[in-house]
């Protein structure tokens, strides 16, 4: 498709975004079309409302949390660069990435650590670097059916926090979070194959 490259040039700041996210030209273009489709009023940015329209997110227990992660620091809009940056966390890790990369450069967005950090900040609402018991409880509440009573939920929360909490402060720090998941194949689990 010859028109692809000319289209790609339309994306503002395309080279910078590519470097930052590591997306291929084609993926970036595809995402840009998606971005434009979501941006119904052609504002050039997305608002919360734009993302909330996606029907499937309304039935995703963590949907709204994920929407919020597109709007860091209380901003009300996200441009394409920001949009792509969030999605870049889910780019699959390719083997040659690690070798080619300049050690001086920051870790790529799709590294294991960054994937985990993305998940972590969905829990850590007050951004204090710790998942408190309450924050854990809220997430659990989102994720279990209404059949589970509050008492059960609290007991589950306590156990979950206890299991991960190593320094005994009743909260899960990022390090503890990472540690509790060290056996899990995050690279695979938090990657979407189509986001190359």
């Amino acid at each position: 498709m010859g028109s692809r490259s000319s289209h790609a040039a339309l994306i503002p700041d395309v080279d910078h975004i590519r470097r930052e996210t590591g997306f291929s030209q084609a993926s970036l273009l595809r995402l840009y079309h998606r971005f434009q489709a979501l941006d119904r009023e052609e504002k050039g940015f997305l608002s919360r409302l734009d993302l909330q329209q996606i029907g499937a997110l309304a039935v995703n227990p963590l949907g709204d949390r994920i929407i919020d992660s597109f709007f860091p620091n209380g901003s009300q809009r996200v441009d394409f660069a920001g949009f792509a940056r969030v999605l870049a966390h889910f780019r699959p890790v390719d083997e040659d990435d690690a070798t080619i990369r300049d050690p001086k450069q920051p870790e790529p967005l799709n590294s294991r650590m960054n994937k985990l950090r993305f998940a972590f900040q969905l829990y850590d609402l007050d951004r204090d670097g710790k998942i408190s018991r309450n924050e854990m409880l809220q997430v659990l509440r989102l994720m279990v059916g209404v059949q589970v009573t509050d008492e059960q939920l609290e007991s589950i929360t306590d156990r979950t926090v206890q299991e991960a909490d190593e320094d005994g402060d009743g909260a899960v720090s990022f390090m503890e979070f990472t540690k509790s998941l060290e056996k899990m194949n995050i690279e695979q689990k938090m990657s979407i194959r189509i986001l190359k």
Partner: protein
């Protein structure tokens, strides 16, 4: 009441009658029918058995059907057996046994699966069912892949199997046979096609991912066109004689492929259009409404058979295309009737097919054994299937966004089961033209039995083994379980946002076209409106509240609890019937208490502690396992011939949807009114409690309006303007009976939905003090003040619109107002696309 059992019963009788009444024709087809009747006429019973002869055929058919159904019943008594051995395999074995008994008694193979019976009466229901319940979105999303496997794959299988067998034949390994190349190709073409009946019967038990399922399933349905063409072409070539086949004939064969497949599809689409149009006007003949669905679809099958087009394609596409409009047009009861009747006909047919396959095999006349031919056929079809799959997948994976992995390919190759279609085709062969017909028939039977029984038995362990190999065996920790599930949700959300699975240019175009033209023509006006998802959800939530209200009343034997002002009762009104899980939690609590008893033996104390931990762990894990919401990939049911999915997923969707909307609305409102979030959250909690009390003490909900409330009311009036009208429309479509039917259905499944959970409602930046959850009725500052929301909502609710309003009790019901109001102005979330295209 008109329940589904009575439905089934009626239809069962109908089916028996139907099969019975058509059977004489089936008998008089190419088979042993006429001779048999003759035989009976000659045996001297004539005076006594006069009645018997006229009733004999339907009677026998019905009895056999009954036997088949009974056997299915017996097999399913023990789920253990059917989960290991596929039902199809059991039925074949049973058929063999029964056939053996009959043959031993009579020395006549009295009852076989004739092609007429199979193609005209048994196959159509199965295929219609597959089409009507086809997950359209998935099907069209993978249409390219399916077509490749169905067309190229089948041709490849036919050609390679036929040619290789011919090669071996030339080498002399098979001994003397009166077959030419064309006969081998003919055999190859009829044995090549993967069978829709057999594949589904086995794949339903094996839980594979949805993409894989739809590919194999779709392939087995669509390859019919190829099979039919190849079969017809080679049959005519064989008739012509090998040396007379010209290039023109080959070209004609290729052309006929396109004619047969596209023509069949077209016939199906046309009939689907007709059917949709007809159901648009059946409002006043509700009773025969379901009849139209079956008759018109069957007519599409017969029409395309008449035009010698692909009948399977016709009825498949008829089902696929009409499902959306028919489901929207016909009444709830008719939809239920259609659903159950279709499932019953399909699984009944399947049962009969497999049993008859077994019975048909017991006939010494058809058995001709040729070890080399049989074994080599088995080897070739398996090997070439595997090679074909790998080659095609390799090509496809360069274009597909979702790659097919090695495990998928293994399952796909191994899942290439052959079935009754091949058998019926081979029986149709003319013995005068195809000299070795009997060899072909016996080989086909062997192939069918081998694939269905052996591969059907082993595919499940194989899949499990392959899967286990990939994931290490370890009990996941709580954190891993929880976060793992969270990751799944995150991933599917990101997929939705990046839109790469659900977004497609063609589909957008199509749904535009559909909305603008097709739906306008084919759907009732009321149906078009009630498609408004929000309204649906709202309606259902209302219903649910009413039901839990009534259920609660029944449980307590009276409705007195509602009026009782005691706090004790209030706490308990959470609509949840006591559940074993609650008991479990308290068990762990009890255990913990027990530790405090004096115990000096440190070791045993330690042990005890550990065992308590274990129990608690188990309980916790169990609860999580059971109640964690499932990520999208897991819970989407695809298609099952034997089960009508219990809508677990819809329930989950509703729960989450409800919750999300409530939250969005909260933040939306607070943003508009500028209320401090934290405060609001704190208030909200109290409010909900208070309001519950209020509602219950004043059932009709008449509360004095206050100033503050006015703000809300005015705003909300705006939101609601359009609603009452639409609501009346909606109620028009769903009659009173449906309401009753739903009540009975929902009482059991949804009664727990009313649990009041404060943690849902507050916004993200929630004040932690709320979560410490001092019960409001204990906190000193709490007085029973009419809640803001109660004040806002109740005076404003138009009674024509919410007939359930006075019943409303839980905080949830108020939210269903909000739910209905909020999104209209705020956003129009399309409810998950799973249910429609």
């Amino acid at each position: 009441m008109w329940t589904w059992e009575s439905d089934i019963l009626c239809v069962l009788v109908l089916l028996a009658w139907l099969v019975g009444s058509v059977y004489p024709q089936a008998l008089s087809g190419p088979g042993l029918g006429p001779e048999l009747l003759h035989h009976w006429n000659n045996s001297g019973y004539s005076v006594v058995s006069l009645q018997w002869i006229s009733v004999r055929a339907p009677f026998l058919t019905t009895s056999w059907t009954l036997v088949a159904l009974f056997s299915a019943l017996v097999f399913h008594l023990s789920h253990k057996v059917t989960s290991i051995v596929p039902e199809s395999a059991l039925l074949i074995v049973l058929g063999l046994v029964l056939g053996g008994i009959v043959w031993a008694a009579d020395h006549i193979a009295s009852f076989t699966l004739t092609p007429t019976l199979f193609f005209f009466y048994l196959l159509p229901p199965i295929v219609l069912d597959a089409g009507y319940f086809m997950p359209n979105r998935l099907f069209f999303g993978n249409l390219g892949t399916i077509l490749l496997y169905a067309v190229i794959g089948t041709i490849w299988n036919a050609a390679t199997t036929g040619l290789s067998l011919y090669g071996v034949f030339l080498s002399g390994l098979m001994g003397e046979l009166k077959i030419g190349l064309l006969d081998f190709l003919l055999f190859g073409s009829l044995i090549a096609a993967v069978d829709p009946v057999a594949v589904l019967a086995v794949f339903e038990e094996v839980h594979v991912n949805e993409v894989l399922f739809i590919i194999v399933f779709g392939e087995s349905l669509l390859n019919d066109a190829v099979t039919v063409v190849l079969y017809n072409v080679f049959e005519s070539f064989v008739t012509l004689g090998g040396d007379k086949v010209t290039g023109v004939d080959c070209v004609k064969g290729i052309v006929s492929f396109f004619v047969v497949s596209l023509g069949g599809t077209l016939v199906g689409v046309i009939f689907a259009f007709l059917l949709s149009l007809v159901t648009r006007f059946t409002k006043h003949v509700r009773i025969i409404e379901p009849g139209f669905v079956f008759v018109i679809s069957y007519l599409s099958y017969l029409t395309s058979e008449m035009l010698s087009l692909s009948a399977i394609l016709a009825i498949t596409f008829c089902g696929i295309c009409c499902q959306k409009y028919v489901k929207a047009n016909i009444s709830e009861q008719s939809a239920t009737t259609v659903r159950y009747t279709m499932k019953m006909l399909a699984s009944g047919s399947e049962t009969i097919i497999f049993m008859f396959l077994g019975i048909s095999a017991v006939d010494p006349l058809i058995w001709t054994w040729n070890t080399a031919f049989v074994l080599l056929t088995l080897v070739f079809i398996s090997v070439y299937r595997a090679i074909g799959v790998v080659l095609q997948t390799w090509i496809l994976n360069r274009y597909r966004m979702v790659q097919l992995e090695t495990i998928d390919q293994v399952v796909m190759s191994y899942g290439g089961l052959r079935g009754a279609v091949a058998y019926a085709l081979v029986v149709l062969l003319d013995e005068k033209k195809v000299k070795e017909k009997n060899l072909f028939v016996s080989t086909t039977l062997i192939v069918v039995f081998f694939t269905v029984i052996f591969q059907g038995l082993t595919i499940k362990p194989l899949v499990q083994w392959l899967k286990v190999k990939r994931s290490e065996e370890r009990e996941p920790k709580l954190n891993e379980k929880l976060h793992g599930r969270a990751f799944d949700h995150i991933l599917s959300a990101i997929e939705d946002i990046s839109g790469q699975i659900g977004h497609n240019y063609l589909r957008d175009k199509w749904s535009n076209f559909d909305r603008k033209f097709l739906s306008k023509v084919l759907m009732r006006r009321s149906a078009q409106k009630s498609r408004d998802r929000i309204l649906n959800v709202f309606h259902e939530l209302n219903l649910k509240d009413a039901i839990s209200y009534v259920a609660e009343g029944e449980r307590r034997g009276s409705l007195a609890f509602i009026r009782s002002p005691s706090t004790d009762n209030m706490v308990n009104v959470d609509f949840s019937t006591p559940r074993p899980s609650t008991v479990e939690a308290s068990v762990s609590y009890l255990l913990r208490e027990n530790v405090s008893t004096v115990c000096l033996d440190m070791q045993s104390l330690e042990q005890r502690r550990r065992s308590i931990r274990d129990t608690e762990d188990m309980v916790t894990h169990h609860t999580l396992q059971q109640y964690l919401y499932k990520p999208r990939q897991e819970y989407k049911h695809l298609y099952s011939r034997h089960e009508i999915t219990p809508n677990e997923d819809e329930k989950q969707d509703k729960e989450i949807f409800h919750r999300t909307m409530r939250k969005r609305l909260e933040s939306f409102k607070s943003a508009k009114l500028g209320i401090n979030q934290n405060k609001k959250a704190a208030k909200l909690y109290k409010r909900e409690r208070a309001q519950k009390r209020r509602n219950s003490s004043i059932p009709n909900g008449k509360l004095p309006m206050e100033n503050l409330a006015h703000n809300f009311v005015i705003k909300e009036k705006d939101f609601e303007l359009s609603e009452p009208e639409e609501a009346t429309n909606y109620e028009e479509t769903s009659g009173g009976i449906e309401f009753l039917a739903n009540v009975t259905k929902d009482v059991t499944s949804e009664s727990g939905a009313g649990i009041d959970n404060p943690v849902f409602s507050p916004d993200e930046d929630l004040d932690p003090s709320i979560l410490s959850r001092v019960p409001p009725w204990l906190s000193p500052g709490e007085t029973v003040v009419p809640s803001q929301r109660a004040r806002v909502q109740i005076p404003n609710s138009p009674s024509n619109f919410r007939r359930l309003t006075p019943f409303r009790l839980s905080n949830k019901s108020v939210d269903s107002f909000l739910l209905a109001d909020g999104p209209e102005e705020q956003l129009q979330p399309t409810f998950p696309e799973s249910t429609h295209m």
